[in-house]
């Protein structure tokens, strides 16, 4: 049996659709359920529904064999898991944004983000030392109320930025969802996992 950690929210629907396309018979009421653990005995699968940021933790510790996680989460968490497939779903990108015509504070440039590791290594690579302020959501607020000069966040359509009067300055990385696998499961359940990779590969559209 395979245990698969799925991210609740935005990615979930698209991931489900992809798996159905690959021929996995997943029950239709799947998405509405409030259960956190759903068994699908016909496919010999168990799904656990987790916060997107936590999927990688479940997979690294091996309580889930596989998971679907955004590249943003993989970059931020740097967990020891196999990143086997780019599913090409939930496309967006990580970007630096801020108020138009604004610049970094001279002495203590501040960056607000949900991704402290990505932000600090990005600015370090740019040769800039910045102070990171970690927020859990509504990152766009930070420059508006003077908490930070810049933000690092996910941008998909750019609408949220626009409606809050912010503009994108630089793109850090493209983000799509990936199929990740625990290193022990990759060896112990290689047949089941290889089969899933093959079936998913066949239906991925770039």
């Amino acid at each position: 049996m395979l245990t698969i950690a799925m991210p609740k929210g935005r990615i979930f629907e698209e991931a489900l659709e992809l798996m159905r396309k690959a021929g996995y018979a997943l029950p239709p009421e799947f998405a509405e359920s409030r259960k956190l653990m759903i068994d699908v005995p016909e496919e010999r699968m168990r799904f656990i529904l987790a916060k997107p940021m936590d999927v990688v933790t479940y997979v690294e510790h091996g309580v889930a064999d596989l998971g679907i996680a955004g590249k943003d989460v993989l970059l931020e968490e740097e967990r020891d898991v196999y990143e086997l497939l780019d599913l090409h779903i939930s496309k967006c990108h990580l970007a630096v944004a801020g108020l138009p015509n604004s610049r970094f504070h001279d002495i203590a440039p501040r960056v607000a983000t949900k991704y402290p590791n990505i932000a600090s290594s990005y600015f370090r690579e740019q040769g800039e030392q910045v102070e990171i302020i970690t927020l859990n959501g509504s990152i766009e607020l930070a420059p508006l109320i003077g908490l930070a000069d810049r933000i690092v966040d996910i941008v998909s359509t750019g609408r949220t930025l626009k409606e809050n009067g912010l503009i994108e300055f630089e793109k850090i990385a493209d983000v799509t969802s990936r199929l990740i696998v625990n290193p022990v499961s990759y060896r112990m359940k290689d047949r089941d996992i290889d089969e899933m990779v093959e079936r998913l590969s066949a239906v991925i559209t770039e």
Binding site: T57, E60, H61, G62, V63, D80, V81, Y82, E83, L84, L85, D86, R178, N182, P183, V184, S185, R187, M188, D190
Partner: protein, 391 residues
């Protein structure tokens, strides 16, 4: 810093209570007995080593080392593994006439944890190092011994993945031309980032044939038939040599009585710049992390001024115990509860039982608060109370 509560321990440090101690002892003995039967001799090395020598020679990342200063100002480390201390010991004293040396250890090693719980910072490793033998039979012996020792503990379902770092290096170098470019690709493999590996390969200015060769590497895992496909991907002598070695290894493992649990995995890269040839990892059902690993490290002893080939394995006892399904321990301690009048009789009875090899607690009745709760702890209880057996 907030004030510590009296029950707190440093992050990742754990107590071993009697039950776990007994399980650990049983599993350790199953492994060490087998290792001794293969003629490996156990040694101990100090808990503290110099950072400059053993600390920097070890394959463990710098931020995982516990460091402290001695009174002369030298930086010390709590040993993060046993391979580097044994290399130091072998290079400076034991390895002398160029003949093979078989050493073994069971010891606690220390790796600092910053991220989260669920990972001990101090844990016991059991392993062997076979120093001075460059033949593939030594690699096969080490793998076979590891498998047999694990079987002796009662471990049921496990898999050993075997690869060859020389193969990966040869393939990368012959296609990419220099080490710098090879390093980029090795890093993707090391980070298990196959998506990044594929994207990077496709972005390289290579012929489609060469791109296919690099992409095909990711599928090279399975039984010995993999060797045939792996051989076709490389043209250089170094690459062919690595495949020959794996072929010899497979033949040797078969002579040892091939375990079905061995699989080939040409993508296996353990630690960067540490292993030099055949390398392996062992995995078991129900544990999310490898139980242990090993391989050939022909350049480590050179760091201690002694050129010698070597190979070995190390198994983590904590993860092995997690993987074992049956860790029941029979309660085997008996108890004699006596009153003052019959103390002499109780001593005699206890001595007699202990001579027979049984475990006996001798307990004065006055020292017990709650007899019911106390006597439940033991396999059996003998009461020697009152005068002449009358209570």
């Amino acid at each position: 810093m907030s004030k510590l509560f009296m029950f707190e321990k440093p992050l990742g440090m754990r107590d071993t209570l009697p039950f776990l101690y007994k399980v650990k002892k049983r599993v350790r003995e199953a492994m060490t007995n087998e290792i001794e039967q293969w003629g490996y001799e156990f040694i101990e090395t100090p808990t503290l080593e110099y950072y400059e020598t053993v600390g920097s020679a070890s394959a463990i990342a710098d931020h995982q080392l516990f460091k402290l200063l001695d009174q002369q100002g030298h930086t010390l480390v709590l040993r993060p593994d046993m391979t580097a201390p044994i290399a130091r010991l072998a290079a400076s004293r034991l390895y002398q006439n160029g003949n093979p040396l078989r050493l073994a250890y069971h010891a606690n090693v220390f790796r600092a944890q910053q991220r989260e719980g669920g990972r001990p910072a101090e844990f016991e490793q059991i392993g062997v190092e076979c120093i001075g033998d460059r033949t593939v039979t030594a690699d096969a012996e080490v793998i076979r011994l590891m498998i047999t020792a694990l079987e002796q503990t009662g471990l049921q379902r496990f898999t050993v993945a075997v690869g060859h770092i020389g193969y990966v290096n040869a393939l990368f170098l012959e296609i990419l031309g220099n080490e710098e470019r090879a390093n980029v690709l090795r890093r993707f493999l090391y980070e298990k980032n196959y998506v990044g590996y594929r994207n990077h390969v496709r972005s390289l200015p290579l012929s489609s044939i060469d791109q296919q060769r690099l992409l095909a590497l990711l599928d090279l895992r399975g039984d010995e038939t993999v060797l045939g496909s792996a051989r076709e991907l490389v043209h250089s002598e170094r690459g062919a040599h690595a495949i020959e070695e794996l072929g010899e290894l497979w033949a040797a493992l078969r002579l040892f009585g091939l375990a079905d649990s061995v699989k080939l995995d040409m993508t296996l890269i353990s630690h960067m710049n540490y292993y030099t040839g055949i390398l392996f990892e062992v995995y078991a059902d129900g544990v999310g992390f490898p139980l242990g690993n090993g391989g050939r490290y022909d350049e480590l002893l050179e760091k201690f001024s002694c050129k010698a080939p070597a190979t070995g394995f190390g198994i983590r006892l904590d993860r092995l115990i997690e993987a074992l399904k049956d860790t029941r321990i029979e309660e085997d301690i008996e108890c004699i509860i006596f009153s003052q009048e019959r103390f002499a009789e109780a001593i005699e009875l206890a001595n007699e039982k202990r001579r027979e090899g049984r475990k006996v607690v001798l307990q004065h009745i006055v020292g017990i608060q709650d007899i019911d709760a106390y006597s439940k702890k033991y396999k059996s209880v003998t009461y020697l109370l009152g005068r002449n057996g009358k209570e």
